[in-house]
């Protein structure tokens, strides 16, 4: 009833292609997060599911019915809009109850539901305020309440928590999850908050330039990104990338080599690859004991330190004189490496350090196509230890 399917859906504006041949197959009751860079087509996708935008090509299905040309009201969807879109001429109560009143619910039922929704979004006592008498976050919560009072087959939420503070977000997250469980509806959720996407969703759909890059459970996306884009996009701070080549002995680049048998990961020597390693998989040599499958030691110098409270980000320069350029347009920065360490680590700026990588968490991508080649290197020079969730190469 609530499964949503997009078949070869595209949306072209005059000179822009907002969504490009998108195929999505969302099961009834699933919680899907759409993530991707700004302007990649997330909202457009949502609007096409809601029926607010008619696809230029392709078909949209909701629960077996083709709805491509059906008006929004007949699709059984509720939506939280990115731009909030409260009705400025109605107070909070009327905004929230709008959909219910349209359906002629009786007064008490409406009252009950509105009060419950207001409770969930912590707006009790503000029901008679007008939208322009509220703060940004309060308005956003009204928008959420407006969607959740109804019992639609599909919830579409476009960055519903963007204006909320951390505590409230956590609260809202759990509430949404509870709602999801209770109503068993499909939720399609756009967020730019990694934590949200990771913790809430059954699957994450990563979109870039209107094209679907990967749709998989959160940890799969994190640990086994399908390509360079996903690898770089998921995880904050972003994965480190180093360009290099495959030799008989493994991966070689200007500053870092990693030994493995190319045959084991199924690639031939001489291929141009990009190696990826997440900041938390870079360790100080002192912590080698924590790593089951460490790489060679790498000499580096600390550059900037960014203490985050629960961890510290350390920017490492791999070459003498290299600038810690913060330009993240170039995918691979061969001369620097970002590392995250525990907050109580004794480390200073401009200090020489030796680091190792967790080889079982090393990702290899085809430099040209960006496709993933392997996630983690098992065939180790050192004995392999117990590895957690890393996966086999699936290329």
């Amino acid at each position: 009833m609530g499964d949503v399917k997009l078949e070869h859906v595209s949306k072209h504006y005059d000179d822009v292609t907002a969504v490009d041949d998108m195929n999505l197959d969302i099961n009834d009751g699933e919680f899907i997060c759409l993530v991707g860079p700004s302007g990649c087509g997330k909202s457009t996708t949502m609007e096409m599911i809601a029926g607010l935008t008619i696809p230029s090509e392709g078909k949209v299905f909701i629960g077996d019915r083709e709805v491509t040309n059906l008006p929004p009201k007949d699709r059984g969807v509720a939506m939280v809009f990115q731009n909030i879109a409260l009705f400025p001429h109605m107070d909070v109560y009327d905004n929230i109850s709008f959909g219910l009143r349209l359906r002629n619910y009786d007064k008490e039922e409406i009252d009950r539901r509105v009060n419950r929704a207001a409770d969930v979004v912590q707006l009790e006592g503000m029901l008679d305020r007008m939208p322009d008498e509220m703060s940004g976050g309060q308005r956003q919560r009204v928008a959420i309440a407006r969607a959740i009072v109804r019992n639609p087959g599909v919830f579409l939420m476009d960055e519903p928590l963007a204006n909320l503070d951390a505590k409230l977000r956590v609260h809202m997250r759990t509430e949404l999850q509870r709602l999801h469980k209770e109503l068993d509806t499909t939720i399609i959720y756009v967020t730019h908050d990694q934590a949200e996407a990771m913790t809430m969703s059954d699957r994450i759909a990563v979109i870039d330039s209107g094209q679907l890059q990967q749709i998989d459970p959160p940890l799969v996306c994190y640990n086994e990104p399908a390509n360079l884009f996903v690898a770089g996009f998921i995880g904050s701070p972003s994965m480190n990338f180093l360009d290099g080549t495959v030799t008989e002995n493994g991966f070689e680049s200007t500053n870092i080599d990693i030994e493995f048998d190319p045959a084991d990961v199924g690639i031939e020597a001489g291929r141009e690859v990009t190696m990826g390693i997440r900041p938390e998989d870079v360790y100080l040599v002192e912590d080698t004991n924590l790593v089951a499958n460490p790489s060679h030691e790498i000499e580096a110098m600390t550059d900037v330190l960014e203490p985050m409270g629960d961890e510290i980000f350390v920017y490492l320069k791999l070459e003498e004189g290299a600038e810690a350029s913060l330009d993240e347009d170039a995918i691979a920065m061969n001369d620097q490496l970002l590392m995250s360490v525990a907050p109580d680590t004794d480390i200073e700026e401009d200090e020489d350090v030796t680091v190792i990588l967790d080889r079982s968490r090393v990702h290899l991508f085809d430099t040209e196509t960006g496709k993933a080649i392997s996630h983690g290197i098992e065939s180790a020079v050192q004995a392999s230890g117990p590895t957690g969730t890393e996966a086999e190469s699936d290329d």
Partner: protein
């Protein structure tokens, strides 16, 4: 209904308006147009004479029918500025002069009034009543008010040669202004501006009230003075409304009749509509229908200025 294509849906929603306009406007116009193809008939029961095709139109444009009209229809053109001989002697020129000045001043004054009504102050409601009152005055009474004001020995705004009133002294008008085309035109424009500025003001005010107030916050912080806020935010955002208001004022001004009839008479200030009504009452139905259609054509040419503007505004 919701599954109709956008085009079908659009036409469906337009149907009631189009039916009404079709029956009440298009059908009569078609009928009137066919009247314009017949000769006038003054005796006998028939309303119209024989079918003459476009002869009525030809006669009007060549001036061959001017004898039946209160004034010439087209001016006599020359090659020297202002390109017409006696600018007050033809219906077309009189109408154009009236239109240009009345629309211009109504827009300016309407703008000023709207700016005032857009402020927040005590008694705003009463100022608004005051500003709308002229618009609510029927044209007959509007005519009477101004007619009496400029009636020698009744109103105080006009005097005699020996004892001139201020307006005479200033040389604005003569002592019998309502028998003089130029003076009357001037006074009729004043009377029209008095009455119809409210129309402009109301529309412009509505446009101003519909602007999202947060844009002003942005502009203020960006350093915009009041004038700049007006120029860069208010004005462009109400421009479509102003254009619509001016468009309809222009059309209305081009059809001016009532205030002329009640203040100075069609013989003194012959507007295009005056020609239509006078011939209609004569009754020269063929000529009247022809003048009506030519008037509409002239209006179409004049308002094409706005249409071009609309097209560029993307409305």
């Amino acid at each position: 209904m919701e599954t109709l294509s956008e085009t079908q849906f659009a036409y469906l929603l337009l149907t009631p308006a189009l039916i009404l306009l079709g029956v009440i406007a298009i059908y009569p116009l078609a009928s009137t147009f066919s009247m314009s193809l017949y000769a006038d008939q003054l005796t006998g029961a028939a309303r119209l004479g024989e079918f003459v095709g476009l002869q009525n139109y030809i006669d009007l444009f060549t001036g061959a029918r001017d004898f039946a009209l209160p004034s010439a229809f087209l001016p006599t053109f020359t090659t020297e500025f202002p390109f017409v001989t006696d600018i007050y002697s033809s219906a077309l020129m009189v109408t154009l002069i009236f239109t240009v000045f009345s629309v211009l001043f109504e827009t300016l004054i309407g703008f000023g009034q709207a700016l005032i009504l857009d402020q927040d102050f005590r008694g705003r409601r009463w100022v608004r009543v005051a500003i709308i009152i002229p618009w609510a005055v029927p044209i007959v009474i509007q005519g009477m008010i101004w007619f009496l004001m400029f009636q020698p020995n009744i109103g105080f705004l006009v005097g005699t040669t020996e004892n001139p009133a201020i307006m005479n002294q200033l040389g604005l008008i003569g002592t019998t202004p309502l028998r003089d085309t130029a003076d009357s035109l001037f006074l009729i424009i004043v009377a029209d501006v008095w009455k119809t500025s409210a129309f402009m003001a109301l529309l412009i005010l509505a446009g101003m009230q519909s602007i999202d107030r947060s844009l002003y916050d942005v502009a203020k912080v960006a350093g915009a003075s009041r004038w700049q806020q007006f120029k860069l935010i208010t004005f462009p955002l109400i421009l479509p409304t102003v254009l619509v208001a001016m468009l309809f004022r222009t059309i209305d001004a081009m059809r001016v009749y009532g205030i002329i009839e009640t203040m100075a008479g069609c013989q003194t200030v012959p507007s295009l509509s005056c020609l239509v009504v006078t011939t209609f009452n004569a009754p020269l139905y063929g000529t009247s229908a022809t003048v009506a259609f030519i008037t509409a054509g002239i209006i179409a040419i004049v308002v094409s200025v706005y249409i071009v503007n609309f097209a560029s505004e993307g409305i």
